[in-house]
């Protein structure tokens, strides 16, 4: 029996347990002849539904944990047993062989393969099948036993004065705490997996070379006899490319446009035009990045190259930093605009009114009063925008190219951290080569930098908010 079928059976059982126990508790509440309404209320501690939940949870949860645990480790156990049952000489030797062997066995068992290529795998098929059936039956039996004993135990405790509600509520509370642990686990998972793989990488390449080297060519020789580079992992051109595209070109586009949009929307636009223009910016924010990337690669990049050639720059690349940066800037406009919008609206109206009452025009008020007062908030918003821009992947993957140049010429091709991560991890490479591992080191740098930027920017914004509260 498959895990999914078992889970459905258990769920059905739990529903049945709920209904039966609720009916029994309801019978307690309704059966007796009551002297008074107060007596009727005090005759049963918890409402019938809680008794139902109590029994259902006892019937479901222990068995469910067993089944889920089995579906995580079961496949491995069955595989181990299958291989152990084979004669020693036909067992697969290396880990890679083992994987191929098991893939063949599973393919035959599930009917996707007509027959195994490897004769010993063919022989293992009936063994695998019988071991799997055996174990599935054992687990199904255990689950049924757990469900029955759990449900039975709970069922025996269903009495009028049994305090079912606090127990069910305690369980709900535990589930709430457990689910809030998921986000902590995710954070730790990210940090640990990045650090673990990065340490593996820094065993092969010195951190000093990685952080300060200026030569990036991660192609390593796969075979020993191959003529080729040993790989150079100086990531400075990548860092520069990321900053050049994400923090310089994109911001040159996004800051003026976003800021002026926010000013116009908050200070000048009539409510009606605001209702039209604001959603327009939101649509711009909702367009998936892959669409921007396609637009950058297909429409903007050739236009930029033609422009560069027309003004006499001969070495213009069709994967220029400018094209990727400009499109990324457009993508960031709504983000900058909404952050600036929030900061400007947070400035107390008294400051604005005071300035206007002194005879300043609206633009003078904005330039001399509102923007200086809102500056910390705006700067915080821009920093958040930078952090988003340097973590952006698809635009640079599709439009920025892969040449690790250390150049300040916007018409040339540069590459970024995110583009390299995608490039390094989507080829066919064994997992623990320096080339693949370097992607995790880049990811660690990216994670650390965006984290610092975010924490700093949020604290700036927070301090700014508090100043006006």
């Amino acid at each position: 029996m498959s895990a999914a079928a078992l889970i459905f059976a258990l769920l059905g059982l739990a529903v049945a347990a709920f209904l039966v126990a609720r009916a029994r508790a309801a019978a307690f509440a309704g059966r007796r002849v009551f002297a008074s309404a107060a007596d009727r209320i005090s005759s049963i501690h918890s409402r019938p539904a809680y008794h139902g939940w109590y029994v259902a949870l006892w019937a479901l949860v222990p068995a469910l944990i067993l089944v889920l645990g089995w579906s995580l480790v079961g496949e491995g156990i069955v595989a181990d047993r299958t291989i152990a049952s084979l004669p020693a000489e036909s067992r697969p030797q290396t880990a890679l062989d083992r994987q191929a062997f098991l893939a063949e066995v599973r393919g035959v068992v599930s009917g996707q393969l007509a027959g195994a290529f490897n004769p010993s795998a063919d022989a293992a098929v009936p063994v695998y099948r019988s071991i799997k059936t055996q174990w599935s039956l054992v687990i199904a039996g255990l689950a049924a036993l757990l469900a029955a004993s759990g449900g039975g135990f709970a069922w025996l405790r269903v009495r009028p004065h049994f305090r079912a509600r606090p127990r069910v509520e305690r369980f709900v509370m535990v589930v709430l705490v457990l689910s809030s642990l998921v986000s902590i686990l995710t954070t730790f998972g990210i940090v640990l997996s990045l650090i673990y793989e990065s340490i593996e990488f820094f065993r092969r390449v010195s951190p000093f070379e990685f952080l300060f080297g200026t030569n990036w060519s991660p192609q390593t020789a796969i075979r020993a006899d191959q003529v080729g580079s040993t790989g150079a992992f100086g990531a400075v051109p990548l860092f520069w490319g990321t900053i050049f595209i994400g923090a310089i070109i994109a911001m040159i586009v996004a800051i003026p446009l976003g800021l002026m949009s926010a000013i116009y929307l908050t200070q000048y636009a009539k409510p009606r035009s605001r209702r039209i223009m604001k959603p327009m910016l939101e649509v711009l924010a909702g367009v998936p990045t892959v669409v921007y990337g396609y637009f950058a690669a297909l429409t903007v990049a050739p236009a930029v190259r033609d422009f560069a050639l027309s003004i006499g720059i001969s070495n213009a690349s069709s994967e220029s930093a400018l094209a990727a940066g400009v499109v990324m800037g457009i993508m960031i406009i709504p983000f900058v605009s909404s952050m600036a919008d929030d900061s400007i609206t947070a400035v107390p109206a008294a400051m604005r009114d005071g300035s206007l009452a002194m005879g300043a025009t609206t633009s003078e008020t904005i330039k001399r009063v509102l923007i200086p007062a809102a500056l910390p908030g705006i700067v915080g918003g821009v920093l958040l925008a930078v952090s988003r821009a340097i973590g952006e992947t698809m635009i640079v993957v599709m439009a920025a190219g892969l040449a690790a140049n250390l150049t300040a010429n916007p018409f040339q091709s540069v590459t970024t951290v995110t583009a390299q991560i995608v490039q390094l991890l989507t080829g066919d490479q064994e997992f623990d080569s320096a080339k693949t591992l370097s992607a995790f080191a880049l990811g660690l740098v990216l994670f650390a930098v965006t984290l610092c930027l975010n924490i700093y920017a949020l604290s700036v914004v927070k301090r700014y908010r508090e100043a006006y509260e």
Partner: protein
């Protein structure tokens, strides 16, 4: 002492000029603001306009009329074989390719080009469908409309610039001449491209479809929703309603706020290192994609859920507690139902973001070339944005319109989801 100060004469020419200057500055500034918005808007319209004008032809295809002889001998089957027990099998083994080839070659020779220049590699599928519907066709000769080759498809849609030199365009002069002759004979037409809407990826643009990727997206998002909605809502409930103020709660809050700002590609690295390499889950599978996107969407739902619950007034909690509800009952019977529209809006927005996400899915191998519509959660699949990315890399000219058409499909899905979110917000949102 203040009598020494001369009162400003606002009517003097100097001051008048100054006021005019200030007002001009004001107008300029205001215009700059409007120009910035207009520029942002025109980017948007240019983007959508380019996509639409490139992409609408992707939903169409060109067909050519061929006279096909369904020769029973050539096919290797007859009527009785189809109507018998193994009919489906007989159809699948029948030599429709050969019949198609014969018909196309006959036509192509009269036009002076090769058969593969006229008809698509998959044109014989149309013949098989026709016979499946009507077995009586076997043994007869009929005119059939079949999909054209990629080059003829471009010609039929007018996407070939005929005045550039022959070497610089994908279509040769001979093909153009042949196409024009067919056109003059009314033997080509343009129809709705059902292949595009019902099939999966392919190496030839005229056979490539979007349905495989769309179904991959649906499966992936189903996993994402099933995981991150309950966990996100429960986390939001705990943090907003029950969590005591201590170190542990701070740690949860900090990690959620940080996760919300972590670049999406980092989640891809997490998925690769943990789900694929540590737990050994299958590559390219919707379940792994769904898990990865769920971790990414979780903070969005938690933050939206907390805002929604914060906006439920405390008086409701107090009233419920006052009539004897327990802490849990207060939340599950009163706060949660009132906050649900806000939570759902946040969830849909988070889902829309997950639908448009590409980078983390590239990391876990969902860029595989998948020619079958995915059947389950563990079979290799691709998703809409990744399909767009893959097609945008294709060299064949016919994939440009397919990419744009796929983008249109993706944008339609996104618009539907966001429209639903806006509708929910307007319909159910309460202001206290």
């Amino acid at each position: 002492m203040s009598s020494a100060r001369i009162q400003t004469d606002w009517a003097s020419p100097v001051m008048q000029a100054r006021v005019r200057r200030r007002y001009a500055k004001e107008r300029r500034f205001r215009f700059l603001g409007l120009a910035a918005l207009a520029l942002a808007g025109s980017f948007l319209f240019f983007l959508l306009g380019t996509i639409f004008s490139d992409g609408y032809t992707g939903f169409l295809r060109t067909e050519v009329k061929l006279s096909v002889e369904y020769d029973a001998f050539e096919l290797g089957i007859d009527r009785s074989a189809i109507e018998g027990a193994g009919g489906e099998n007989a159809l699948n083994t029948a030599n429709f390719q050969g019949v198609m080839m014969a018909a196309a070659t006959a036509r192509a020779q009269s036009l002076g080009v090769a058969a593969k220049d006229i008809v698509s590699d998959g044109a014989w599928l149309a013949l098989r469908e026709a016979v499946r519907e009507n077995p009586d066709l076997i043994g007869s000769r009929v005119d059939v409309w079949v999909p054209t080759s990629g080059d003829f498809d471009l010609l039929g849609k007018g996407l070939v610039e005929r005045d550039v030199p022959e070497a610089n365009r994908p279509v040769s002069d001979a093909e153009i001449a042949a196409f024009d002759r067919l056109k003059a004979e009314d033997a080509v037409r343009t129809t709705l491209n059902t292949t595009f809407l019902s099939m999966a990826d392919s190496t030839s643009p005229e056979l490539a479809g979007i349905w495989g990727a769309a179904k991959g997206s649906l499966l992936t998002l189903a996993v994402t929703l099933l995981l991150c909605f309950p966990i996100g809502v429960m986390t939001a409930i705990y943090l907003e309603e029950y969590a005591p103020k201590n170190r542990f709660t701070d740690l949860i809050e900090v990690s959620i706020n940080n996760l919300a700002a972590v670049p999406s590609i980092i989640f891809g690295l997490l998925g690769l290192a943990v789900f694929l390499n540590f737990f050994g889950m299958p590559r390219s599978a919707p379940i792994v994609g769904g898990l990865t996107l769920a971790l990414m969407t979780l903070p969005v739902i938690v933050i939206a859920g907390r805002i929604a619950m914060k906006s439920v007034p405390p008086s409701i909690r107090d009233a419920a507690l006052g009539v004897g509800a327990s802490q849990i009952q207060v939340v599950f019977h009163h706060v949660l139902p009132l906050a649900l529209p806000g939570i759902l809006t946040g969830t849909i927005i988070g889902m829309a973001r997950a639908l448009g996400e590409t980078a983390p899915l590239l990391m876990i191998g969902m860029r595989a070339f998948v020619t079958d519509v995915p059947g389950g959660l563990t079979t290799p699949a691709t998703v809409l944005p990744v399909q767009i990315f893959l097609w945008s890399d294709e060299v064949a000219r016919g994939f440009v319109e397919k990419t744009s058409a796929a983008i249109m499909v993706l944008l339609v899905f996104l618009m539907l989801m966001n429209g639903l979110a806006i509708y929910l917000r307007n319909k159910f949102e309460k202001r206290w």
